[in-house]
């Protein structure tokens, strides 16, 4: 294949560029959230995240101190102070009227119609000198354009983890995910072994039913199960959601594992039988260890699916602090904190970081599982 393209350098370049563009489109959205989550919350709303490394320009309207506080100096009354509050920066331009907010550059002296002399230094220190003793409590309005250095902070993460409840939700999600991933595996493995290597009437029909159930929309199951749970008193509890995820994940698990186990060499099983091993022993000592790759594939699927699930968690768990999972919390924040990107971006990143780590660490198994699920059998 490479020889075909190798003959045409222009085409090779086109391929490189095309792939680069695709990769860029596919990574930039996530990168935007990641970078924003570390930016200062004022800078997020005043400049795009792609300018995060450039100094941010900010327009401030500041009221100077009250004229009453002016002090006499060499025959004039002078008022001193600094335009910056918590966030510092360097003044590039200032003005004294809203029409011309950038009339003067830092260090210049502006003279108003009343004969006031106003100067603002680069560091934000201002001095207003009045020819006569001024009166009043309302300070002069100053329009300042400042350049702020890029600011990166982990404050956003501290906020979301400890005061927005993301930390608690993280634990809730973990609580849902671990048992919901592990419990179905064993049940599915035994069933898969029976379907692959044991003879019994109705096997083909059973397998067809399992394949059919893989695509049953979850929406079908919600109301009947919710009613059932309320009737038998399970209500909204972790045990309820563990079992629900187990039930919804089983068909795919059985199907994936059956395909894999059916593909194991017959000789191994036959020779174990000849040696007098029972089905139970064969399963435990031969099938389970040999099916590790398939078990791992399914485990990753189920983990990602449960971790990322919103629907099942919304229906079967409550909306309180002790039960709200991360996807639910994120959705809630999107509603209540729609414009607070410092909170949303940090929360989103906390929510996606674990699946992404799992994804990159175990990608091999995931791909294998996908291929087994759709190319061979489906």
């Amino acid at each position: 294949m490479s020889t075909v393209v190798g003959a045409r350098p222009a085409l090779t370049w086109a391929v490189h560029i095309a792939v680069f563009v695709l990769v860029a489109i596919w990574t930039i959205p996530t990168l935007g959230i990641l970078i924003s989550s570390f930016r200062d919350k004022d800078q997020i709303v005043t400049s795009g995240w792609w300018t995060a490394l450039a100094p941010a320009e900010r327009n401030l309207v500041v009221r100077a101190a009250a004229p009453d506080d002016a002090i006499e100096e060499n025959g004039r009354w002078v008022l001193r102070g600094n335009v910056f509050g918590e966030i510092s920066g360097s003044v590039s331009a200032f003005g004294v009227s809203i029409q011309r907010p950038t009339e003067f550059s830092a260090g210049d002296t502006a003279e108003t119609r009343d004969g006031e002399l106003i100067t603002i230094g680069e560091n934000g220190d201002y001095a207003i000198s009045y020819p006569e003793r001024p009166e009043g409590a309302r300070g002069q309005r100053l329009f300042v354009t400042s350049q702020e250095p890029p600011k990166f902070t982990t404050d956003n993460y501290e906020t979301v983890l400890f005061s927005e409840g993301i930390g608690q939700s993280f634990i809730n999600t973990l609580t849902v995910t671990i048992p919901a991933t592990v419990i179905p595996i064993l049940i599915a493995a035994y069933a898969a072994y029976a379907l692959a290597w044991m003879e019994f009437p109705g096997r083909a029909l059973l397998l067809a039913t399992i394949v059919g159930l893989i695509v049953v929309p979850l929406q079908m199951a919600l109301i009947p199960l919710l009613r059932l749970y309320n009737d038998i008193g399970v209500g909204k509890s972790f045990i309820g959601i563990w079992l629900a995820h187990t039930g919804f994940g089983l068909p795919l698990a059985i199907y994936l594992l059956r395909n894999y186990i059916a593909g194991l060499p017959r000789e191994i099983l036959e020779s174990a039988r000849v040696d007098g091993a029972s089905d139970f022993e064969i399963f435990r000592k031969i099938i389970l260890p040999l099916s590790f790759p398939a078990l791992a594939s399914f485990a990753i699927f189920q983990f990602l699916w449960v971790w990322n699930d919103l629907l099942v968690a919304t229906v079967f768990l409550g909306n309180n602090e002790q039960q709200l999972v991360m996807t639910g919390r994120l959705r809630e924040l999107l509603g209540s904190r729609g414009g607070n990107w410092e909170i949303l971006s940090a929360s989103a990143f906390v929510a996606i970081v674990v699946p992404i780590i799992v994804f990159f660490a175990l990608q091999r198994y995931l791909v294998r599982g996908l291929l087994a699920g759709s190319v061979k059998g489906g």
């Binding site: 792939v19 990769v23 609580t175 419990i183 029976a194 929309p217 109301i223 009947p224 999107l334």
Partner: protein, 384 residues
């Protein structure tokens, strides 16, 4: 099978039906005994630990996980043991015993899976059909009134229209881009890294992806600095910023982009494996005949992986029918973006009408059904 085996056994004197019944009853009894024993032990151990250990949720989850796995093993071990005690593989009746045990054992292995799948998937399908003929609380019989209501409901029509749009656009776009990405990344040295990165959104939840894309679509009035990438590009090119997710009709496509972004990696990975599986000879023959790379791709490679493309297409189609999180998180069905799955959720939680919600769920089920049948047929082909 079990029938013929048991009747063929020398000791079996009962009729075929009676022996099948015996097998069935024994299987049920052994299964129940194993289940009750293992669950009882697990619950007892849980209670004991719960009494001793301080309660923290995570510890509790770990305990449940360990006990769940132990109970599973316990069930399989104890039911198996029980079966071997009832039909010992020794003594005068050894042949009869082994055949009887072999007829029962598969059902012991399948038992827990069948019970769970029965409760969580089969029962709901049946129950939903029944509920769709009932009123809001699922008690009063209303005949076909839910269906009549659905037929004239404008929001339902909007959802169906949008769902059809999703069904056309998302599988096509994801499969097509995935195919292109698979073909291109296979030709370059850093292809695997590129693949990993395009595949990555697959690990991100729909809600997470919605946050990511909502940031891209963020809107500030004209004149202010745009912090959403899309509006920054538009204003950079001299256009006017738009509140993208509220633009009627077209906003559907902005939501679809999110799912396409997530699913393209899936299509790419599967199709890339299929492309690599194409026999080299066919390609070499085409090269010798002087075919251009484009001709090789469209006329030699694509036709050979057609069945895999179909699998990818249907898999994404199923996903699209169930799409819910993205719409809920980004617009909650406002501005003409409602889809069936979210509409069903709406009637379930806000409308509190289980009858109508079940009816909508059934519509989704009916839309999935053809794919289900096709899947089963394909799987049976592969198994034989």
């Amino acid at each position: 099978m079990a029938l013929s085996q048991t009747t063929a056994a020398p000791a079996a004197s009962e009729s075929g039906f009676a022996s099948a019944l015996t097998t069935f009853v024994t299987a049920l009894a052994v299964m129940a005994a194993g289940l009750i024993a293992s669950i009882a032990v697990a619950v007892a151990v849980y209670a004991a630990f719960d009494f001793v250990l301080p309660y923290t949720k995570l510890l509790n989850a770990l305990l449940v996980m360990v006990l769940g796995v132990a109970a599973c093993f316990g069930y399989f071990w104890s039911s198996n043991k029980l079966l071997d005690t009832i039909y010992p593989a020794s003594g005068a009746q050894i042949v009869s015993n082994i055949t009887k045990a072999n007829a029962i054992r598969p059902w012991l292995f399948l038992g827990p899976a069948l019970i769970v799948v029965g409760i969580y998937l089969v029962y709901p399908v049946v129950n939903s059909v029944i509920l769709s003929f009932h009123g809001p609380n699922g008690e009063a019989w209303v005949g076909t009134r839910n269906y009549e209501w659905l037929a004239q409901d404008p929001a339902f029509r909007e959802s169906v229209r949008n769902n059809i749009l999703w069904l056309i656009v998302v599988p096509a776009a994801a499969t097509f881009i995935g195919l292109i990405a698979a073909a291109l990344t296979d030709r370059i040295s850093w292809g695997n890294i590129a693949k990993s990165l395009i595949f990555m959104p697959m690990a991100i939840s729909f809600v997470g992806a919605s946050v990511i894309w909502k940031f891209i679509y963020d809107y500030r009035p004209a004149g202010e600095a745009q912090i959403g990438l899309l509006n920054a590009i538009v204003t950079g090119l001299g256009g006017n910023p738009q509140a993208w997710i509220t633009v009627p009709f077209w906003n559907n496509f902005f939501l679809m982009v999110v799912l396409i972004w997530i699913q393209t990696g899936f299509a790419m990975v599967i199709l890339s494996a299929a492309l690599r599986g194409i026999p080299e000879e066919t390609i070499e023959a085409a090269v010798i005949d002087g075919a251009s790379p484009f001709q090789i791709f469209y006329k030699i490679k694509v036709p050979q992986i057609w069945s895999t493309i179909a699998v990818v297409w249907t898999t994404i189609t199923i996903l699209v029918l169930k799409v819910f999180d993205i719409v809920l998180a980004m617009t909650n069905g406002q501005w003409g973006t409602q889809v069936l799955a979210n509409y069903m959720f709406d009637w379930m939680f806000r409308g509190l009408d289980f009858g109508r919600a079940s009816t909508i769920a059934l519509v989704i089920m009916v839309m999935v059904a053809p794919i289900m049948v096709w899947n089963i047929r394909e799987a049976r082909k592969g198994i034989r």
